[in-house]
């Protein structure tokens, strides 16, 4: 789920910082997975001079959504006198903005998924391929409907945690192609329940920056490589 109101308020903070320079907003990689056309449309009334996009399809989609701000590609862009606003507009970390929250920039994306099934297991049981994870005590495992084909790192079991029912829990075992397991401990869990991989820290979710750090990547890489099976919905 992508909160376009947050994108707008992040944009205002960054634009105020950068003016009076020409403002170019970087929407490459389909706006780092947030959807270039939807994001461009939400910024249509802001003081943005151009959008930078990866290819013709994105430029067409932005024009088709009725946005009059030009969408340009790298080879057409003269960024010499411009401020380029990058993934920080989505509350993601970049080389120039390592701590987006410190500037008041909140994450626009909440990545959530549903529990497909649950299972009680005993202590010291291996979980998922290669049994790289072993349960410490008897516990409940939830099978969550996201996998590495959706862009969730196979190695997220090396420290990544996801939110369920008010607290965060460890990803248990290697992420498979279509699902991963979450070790939810004593929390009662049922098929259909919601798990949040990252979102607004203020709600108790892991931040995208924290999630990405636990898989050794930048948050922009994580969001940009999320697959198309993940439905993008906007508020």
């Amino acid at each position: 789920m992508i909160d376009l109101e947050i994108v707008r308020s992040n944009a205002r903070i960054l634009i105020a910082d950068a003016s009076p320079n020409r403002i170019v907003v970087d929407l490459r990689g389909d706006a780092y997975g947030h959807g270039a056309a939807a994001v461009a449309a939400s910024l249509g009334a802001e003081a943005v001079d151009a959008f930078l996009v990866s290819h013709d399809e994105a430029a067409h989609a932005i024009r088709a959504s009725g946005v009059s701000i030009p969408a340009i590609q790298s080879f057409q862009a003269d960024l010499a006198d411009a401020s380029l606003i990058g993934p920080e507009i989505f509350g993601l970390d970049t080389a120039s903005v390592p701590d987006p929250r410190g500037l008041g920039l909140l994450p626009a994306m909440t990545l959530s998924a549903r529990v497909l099934s649950t299972k009680k297991v005993g202590a010291d049981e291996g979980v998922s391929y290669g049994y790289v994870y072993r349960t410490q005590t008897a516990t409940r495992l939830a099978m969550v409907c996201l996998g590495y084909s959706d862009g969730i790192d196979r190695h997220a079991c090396n420290g990544a945690r996801a939110w369920f029912a008010g607290s965060t829990h460890p990803v248990a075992g290697r992420v498979a192609m279509d699902v991963f397991m979450l070790d939810v401990g004593d929390d009662p869990v049922s098929p259909g329940d919601e798990v949040v991989l990252f979102g607004d820290e203020a709600k108790g979710y892991p931040s995208p920056v924290a999630w990405a750090a636990s898989v050794g990547k930048s948050a922009a890489e994580v969001t940009a490589s999320l697959g198309d099976r993940i439905v993008r919905s906007y508020v």
Binding site: R28, G29, D30, Y32, G33, S54, H55, E57, S74, L116, S117, K119, K120, V121, E125, G126, V127, S128, Y129, G130, Y131, L141, M143, C145, Y148, S149, G151, R154, H155, G173, A176, M177, D178, V179, M181, P191, G192, G216, K217, S218, A220, E221, A224, S225, G227, D228
Partner: protein, 357 residues
């Protein structure tokens, strides 16, 4: 031929060759071709049609929407289509009516089948958890699952087609334990009135290597596409051929202020290339390997040209393939970037155009 950004070349001849190798390897067991995730990024319908034309009777489609789309694309009975990742909220009537084989792990799922309005009996494969701990009934829950299925079979609601599991491929010993637990579950089902179901347990690695893992049917995914496991024998040494080649034209050639020369292709991390690749793997131009270098950008990758003066804008860069043009294979890519080839192919952007030969 010119390509603008990137291109995936899918060699169905190589795929058919792999199917022949796998069929011979596991005979008299049968081969299921797993086509989940758009046939591991190779193209769902093209791959399934090629498999069916090669005589394959079993297709593993993962979920009901994929299975139904295959029926709509003309993959009709008697080709069996197997779906095992079921949405708890899903109405199973369309799947049952389309004669989709369903992988069933819980009594609740059996109840969903019983509550559906389908006119024909559902074809079910009962799943036992032999250690992977994803889905599948635990050994404690297994007798109840089998008994409930048997009762529904007597009422004409369903037909128990198979008993199956999926194993962790942790090591030979752990896999042997899973095989023993599976045989135990088959025996329990037998005693509860399921005399001779099909039995399936193995995916690519165990199915290829171990005759005691094959039972009646092996569910092959990765090996169909010529994708061997990491850090192991190459595809070639197993007699398999990599089906996918990823290439892109050179978009920029430039000399940096320090005199180094580099070139780019317009594929980046948003297209599915890993930021771990620079410094660890290279690409091939005119048969010569060039290392990828930082930064791997969102929509662009750079490689070092060293003293190669032959590379020009528009030249074809092979990112990965079967190695015949000097490029790395997907196995080499997986090993270099700390993952497996399956992750690389299924994370590629579906917007990269695909050409099937």
């Amino acid at each position: 031929m010119t390509i603008s950004r990137g291109e995936l070349l899918i060699d169905l001849e190589a795929l058919r060759h792999n199917l022949d190798v796998l069929t011979a390897q596991v005979a008299p067991s049968q081969v299921m071709v797993v086509v989940k995730n758009d046939a591991y990024g190779h193209g769902l319908v093209d791959v399934t049609k090629a498999a069916v034309e090669s005589g394959i009777c079993w297709i593993g489609a993962l979920d009901v929407p994929t299975s139904l789309s295959l029926r709509e694309a003309g993959i009709s009975s008697p080709t069996r289509i197997f779906a095992w990742l079921l949405d708890p909220a899903e109405d199973l009537e369309p799947a049952i009516s389309a004669s989709i084989d369903l992988g069933i792990s819980t009594v609740e799922q059996l109840n969903t089948i019983a509550a559906s309005s389908a006119a024909t009996p559902a074809r079910v494969h009962l799943k036992i958890d032999t250690g992977l701990h994803r889905n599948g009934a635990t050994p404690e829950d297994w007798p109840e699952l089998v008994a409930r299925a048997r009762a529904l079979e007597d009422q004409g609601t369903l037909e128990i087609v198979a008993v199956w599991t999926h194993i962790a491929e942790a090591d030979d010993h752990e896999d042997s334990l899973s095989i023993a637990r599976f045989e135990e579950a088959v025996a329990v089902a037998h005693d509860l009135g399921v005399p001779s179901p099909l039995r399936h347990l193995a995916a690519s690695a165990a199915g290829f290597a171990r005759s005691d893992a094959r039972f009646d049917l092996v569910r092959f995914g990765a090996f169909v596409y010529g994708l061997p496991p990491g850090d192991g024998p190459s595809a070639e040494s197993m007699g398999l051929r990599q089906v996918m080649t990823l290439s892109a034209p050179v978009s920029v050639v430039e000399t940096l202020p320090d005199g180094r020369r580099r070139a780019s292709i317009d594929l980046g991390f948003a297209d599915g290339l890993s930021t771990l690749a620079p410094g660890r793997i290279g690409v091939a131009v005119h048969g010569r390997r060039h290392p990828l270098i930082d930064p791997l950008e969102v929509d662009r990758a750079w490689f070092d040209l060293a003293d190669d003066n032959e590379v020009a804008v528009g030249d074809l860069v092979t990112v990965w393939g079967d190695g015949s043009a000097g490029e790395p294979t997907l196995q080499e890519w997986g090993d270099a970037t700390g993952t497996m080839s399956e992750e690389l192919v299924v994370r590629l952007s579906p917007r990269i155009p695909r050409r099937v030969i």
